[in-house]
């Protein structure tokens, strides 16, 4: 333990949070085969970065966040913050929430209704980790309220704030605690769409201005992609992929991620073998497809099932007919439905028994019932092993 600690400190000086092998079950530990709410979660939050946990409802995002905060104890694994061990299941170490260098904005904001706005904000200064005394407290709280645009309401009761103002107050309070890490659990989910878009920009700019690392939980993919430096996609208690937002879209590592982020055509693969030019040649229900891309970082295990993944905008469509013979990675099909969306045309094309979604530039004369040839460019077609 002790000799490895120095190494750990050196390696992770740049990380605000390091989590490894975290598992948590809400059932009694004695029960055999108990299901895990989170299962073998490992990730890092580098200093000053904005990291998002993204996933469908019930996938364990809140549980992970609460374990980081220390409000729940994991059954297995290890959590470090700024190089210090906060939780280690093996050595039974657990630093309580009040002793961790964190601040949290809960989903319901946790604004105390029996206090005024200024008292809510000043709470961390008066009672928190780094207590202060005297007029400085009010001064600092007011400055922070100024920053979030609530200075004029400092002496109002906290219940007299609107939803968006409450959220900003919760943020101001969290920042006044001078945390290394800001934990946010779906702080925007209670707001209407317009306010949500506005506040998420504010949130990001505050986080950057104060240089604090943020761990953010959401089930809204557009929120995650717009805000984050790094997105962690979770599914059923496990991590599916950790990546930058743009890579997540272009290089999904699993069919779940491809489907969850944006929309994707996923064709089950019956058989896969190495194809020309380092690609993968797959057999699918629409025929043989050559994929130049493979799931990032994984060694492709052939003959293993998996999926071929193509984004709708990467599906090329041209009018077919009697003369047109499909070439490599080309398939004949019939337009089933066509939806005109102003800038583009959303098509559902049936080839064989499979429906393929394609999105093309408007202007082509494609009607339901028309015969077409679709082309899957190998360069934008991925083979996903799972």
């Amino acid at each position: 333990m002790t000799e490895s600690k120095g190494k750990v400190m050196a390696r992770e000086a740049k990380n605000s949070i390091t989590i490894s092998g975290l598992r948590k079950s809400y059932e009694q530990p004695s029960k055999a085969g108990s299901a895990y709410a989170i299962d073998d979660i490992s990730f890092e939050v580098p200093q000053g970065q904005f990291v998002t946990l993204l996933g469908p409802s019930g996938c364990g995002k809140t549980t992970t966040l609460r374990c980081v905060a220390g409000l729940e104890q994991a059954s297995e694994g290890r959590i470090e913050m700024g190089g210090e061990v906060m939780f280690d299941a093996r050595t039974k170490q657990h630093v309580r929430p009040e002793d961790r260098p964190i601040a949290m904005v809960p989903q319901s904001y946790g604004i105390w209704p029996h206090m005024r706005v200024i008292d809510n904000a000043a709470f961390p200064l008066r009672h928190g980790r780094n207590r202060r005394k005297g007029p400085e407290v009010r001064q600092r709280a007011l400055e922070m309220l100024e920053q979030v645009g609530l200075a004029a309401m400092a002496d109002r009761w906290a219940t007299q704030l609107s939803g968006g103002q409450q959220q900003r107050l919760a943020l101001a309070r969290a920042l006044l605690g001078d945390p290394q890490v800001l934990l946010l659990d779906e702080p925007l989910s209670n707001l209407d769409a317009k306010l949500r878009a506005k506040l998420r920009q504010e949130l990001r700019s505050f986080q950057e201005r104060f240089g604090v690392a943020a761990l953010y939980v959401t089930h809204d993919q557009s929120e995650a992609l717009a805000l984050s430096d790094t997105v962690i996609v979770m599914n059923q208690g496990r991590i599916e992929q950790i990546d930058r937002p743009e890579r997540l879209y272009d290089h999904p590592r699993s069919s779940f991620v491809a489907d969850f982020i944006g929309s994707a055509n996923l064709f089950p693969v019956r058989d896969a073998s190495s194809g020309p030019g380092g690609g993968v040649l797959t057999k699918t229900d629409i025929g043989p497809v050559l994929c130049a891309r493979t799931g990032q970082g994984e060694e492709v295990r052939y003959h293993d099932g998996g999926f071929v993944c193509v984004r709708p905008e990467d599906v090329g469509v041209r009018t077919g007919g009697t003369g047109a013979t499909p070439g490599d990675n080309e398939f004949a099909g019939v337009v089933e439905s066509a939806e005109y969306l102003g800038d583009r045309l959303e098509l559902v094309i049936r080839t064989g028994d499979v429906a393929v979604t394609a999105s093309t530039r408007a202007g082509q004369n494609l009607r339901p019932g028309g015969e077409v040839v679709i082309r899957l460019d190998p360069a934008s077609t991925s083979y996903l092993a799972s």
Binding site: R23, A32, W112, P113
Partner: protein, 592 residues
């Protein structure tokens, strides 16, 4: 998945696991934590002592075969008490009386409170904005005062209500009878039942009822097929609770039943312990106590299942509907008159009779001519008696200390249970529920036995009463706080914890202020009930620890001085009303 199963052994137990792990650089925290553990341990012992010891004493003494000696002086164990009680001719008579009394009051309370709740919550009956609060007003009247007020208003000799009924209908009414007891207990049970049933009616989505109305179902069918099934869980839960209260309640059977020797379990137990002959039968008292306890516990189990079931009916909660009320049509005014008459007879008249009697030179019916001879003589006599100062001091001590200590302990128990502060905290909370089923007569007797035996010198002081009353009110108090805690958003407390504030600070600055309304409610409830709680005070009273309610009992039953008893009752009533008013004003100010 195989990996997890091999690792399972060295995973810590969820919960308390690593809590006490020492982190060298945080020495003071560890010490504070040790202090916290000590406090928890002390509280567990205290609650266990208060709650479990009386139960054990009760069982213990029921197994001690002796009619006259104190349980601790009898060697060996036997079932003789049970044999004697089960074979005695008294058992049948007392059981029958108890059954009639309990079932009768249940029916009266049920009919009254369901009707009132329906009329006030679902119909357009006029005047509901002042009638509905009036229905709850008797909550502030201690049950002993209530029983005496009824004795004054409906006694056959000079009770104004009895005289009125005789003159108008030609029937003689006597409140000192089983029907009299049933009526008073039924009326007494209305407010608490109404409180449980009214929300169920309020939540009822009127569209359900309207849907039935549009297909042409008449009112009675609509009630029977749509409304009743939906409110059944709340009604039956309230019913179970009333049965327990009626079963163990002492004041009404004692004040209205004893003059004609009509015994139910609770009054019979007290009679066995303090008979006119002076020779107490401890074994018999304990045995009846065990019987009542068993019956109460069965009821409480059913009650708890019912209450759990009510969550199933949450679907009834309808957001965004307009509270449309059923139109009573031409029945509006007649029903209003009936309800008003009930309110007048059941609530206003007894209190007026109490005040009237307290201001009269002797017990007499209402009359205009009597107005001229009103006098404050009885108040003067009460307040100038030699020991009144001591009695008031005792009462003040008992009531204030009990309310404060009970509320404090309730907070601790409820917080520990909801936040799962230590292993077994939930069990501790549940254990207090057992006390709920102990009749207060029995609890008083158990505490009496205990301190006659234990070398703790509190027998004969106010402290023995405080101990017994705290035990008695702990279950209700902790449940009130628990309910409030469950409704509190966890985020409020967690947001404070993660700022780094210590648990003590979080409790002081966030948790307690947020709970303040519930704490006041709990304090007030205990205050008012401690003020009027007769049997415990009666059993544990000595020369030096007499309280107002014991004085009232003595004045009413022994010296039969009705004006003086009336004056005492009015004083008790005034104190509890004042407390209610002060607390309500306080919380109203806080809201603003």
């Amino acid at each position: 998945m195989e990996l997890t199963s091999t690792k399972e052994d060295d995973a810590p137990a969820a919960g308390a696991g690593g809590r006490d792990a020492p982190t060298p650089e945080r020495r003071p925290r560890t010490e504070r934590r040790a202090a916290g553990t000590l406090v928890n341990l002390a509280m567990i012992l205290l609650v266990g002592y208060l709650v479990l010891v009386p139960l054990a004493i009760l069982l213990y003494s029921s197994l001690k075969a002796s009619t006259t000696e104190l349980p601790f002086e009898v060697p060996g164990f036997s079932l003789d008490n049970f044999r004697a009680v089960l074979s005695s001719s008294r058992l049948g008579e007392v059981t029958l009386n108890t059954a009639i009394y309990v079932v009768g009051s249940l029916i009266v309370a049920l009919v009254l409170s369901v009707s009132l709740a329906y009329l006030f919550e679902r119909t357009d009956i006029p005047g509901r904005s002042f009638l509905a609060p009036l229905a709850l007003a008797p909550m502030a009247v201690p049950v002993t005062v209530m029983a005496i007020a009824w004795a004054l208003v409906a006694n056959p000799a000079n009770g104004p209500l009895a005289l009125l009924v005789r003159r108008v209908f030609g029937i003689t009414v006597d409140v000192y009878s089983l029907p009299g007891m049933i009526l008073v207990m039924g009326i007494f049970g209305v407010p608490s039942m109404y409180l449980m049933i009214a929300p169920a009616f309020a939540r009822l989505n009127p569209e359900l009822e309207e849907a039935a109305a549009t297909v042409g179902a008449p009112l009675w069918r609509r009630l029977r097929l749509i409304v009743f099934p939906l409110i059944t869980p709340a009604v039956s839960a309230a019913g179970m609770l009333l049965v327990v209260v009626a079963l163990e309640g002492f004041a009404i059977p004692a004040i209205l039943g004893l003059p004609k020797q009509i015994f139910v379990y609770s009054s019979f137990i007290q009679y066995s312990l303090q008979p006119p002959s002076g020779v107490a039968n401890y074994g018999q008292a304990s045995t009846y106590g065990v019987i009542v306890l068993a019956l109460s516990l069965v009821m409480l189990m059913v009650y708890r299942r019912r209450v759990r079931d009510t969550h199933r009916f949450r679907v009834v909660v309808g957001k965004g509907y307009r509270p449309h009320r059923v139109s009573l049509g031409r029945w509006r005014i007649p029903l209003f008159l009936v309800v008003s008459a009930y309110m007048f007879v059941a609530i206003v008249l007894p209190i007026v009779a109490l005040i009237w009697t307290s201001l009269s030179p002797y017990a007499r019916p209402f009359s205009w001519s009597g107005l001229s001879s009103m006098t404050l003589e009885s108040y003067r006599r009460v307040l100038s008696s030699s020991d009144i100062g001591e009695v008031l001091l005792n009462t003040g001590q008992v009531v204030l200390i009990t309310a404060t200590v009970t509320t404090a302990m309730s907070v601790w128990i409820a917080v520990a249970a909801t936040r799962n502060r230590f292993r077994g905290s939930t069990m501790l909370f549940e254990a207090t529920f057992l006390v709920f089923g102990i009749p207060s007569v029995v609890l008083g007797a158990a505490v009496l036995f205990l301190y006659l035996y234990l070398p703790v010198p509190i027998y004969g002081t106010v402290w023995i009463i405080i101990v017994a009353l705290t035990t008695r009110f702990l279950p209700r108090g902790s449940r009130m706080v628990h309910t409030a805690l469950l409704q509190l958003d966890d985020g409020l407390v967690e947001a404070a914890r993660v700022t780094g504030a210590s648990p003590m600070t979080v409790t002081r600055t966030i948790l307690l202020p947020l709970l303040r309304p519930a704490l006041w409610k709990c304090w007030l409830w205990v205050f008012a009930h401690a003020l009027g709680e007769l049997p415990i005070a009666l059993l544990l009273t000595g020369a030096d620890n007499r309280t107002l309610v014991v004085l009232l009992w003595d004045t009413f039953t022994s010296s039969v001085d009705y004006p003086e008893a009336g004056a005492l009752a009015v004083i008790i009533l005034a104190i509890s009303t004042l407390a209610v008013w002060l607390v309500n004003r306080h919380s109203a100010e806080k809201q603003a």
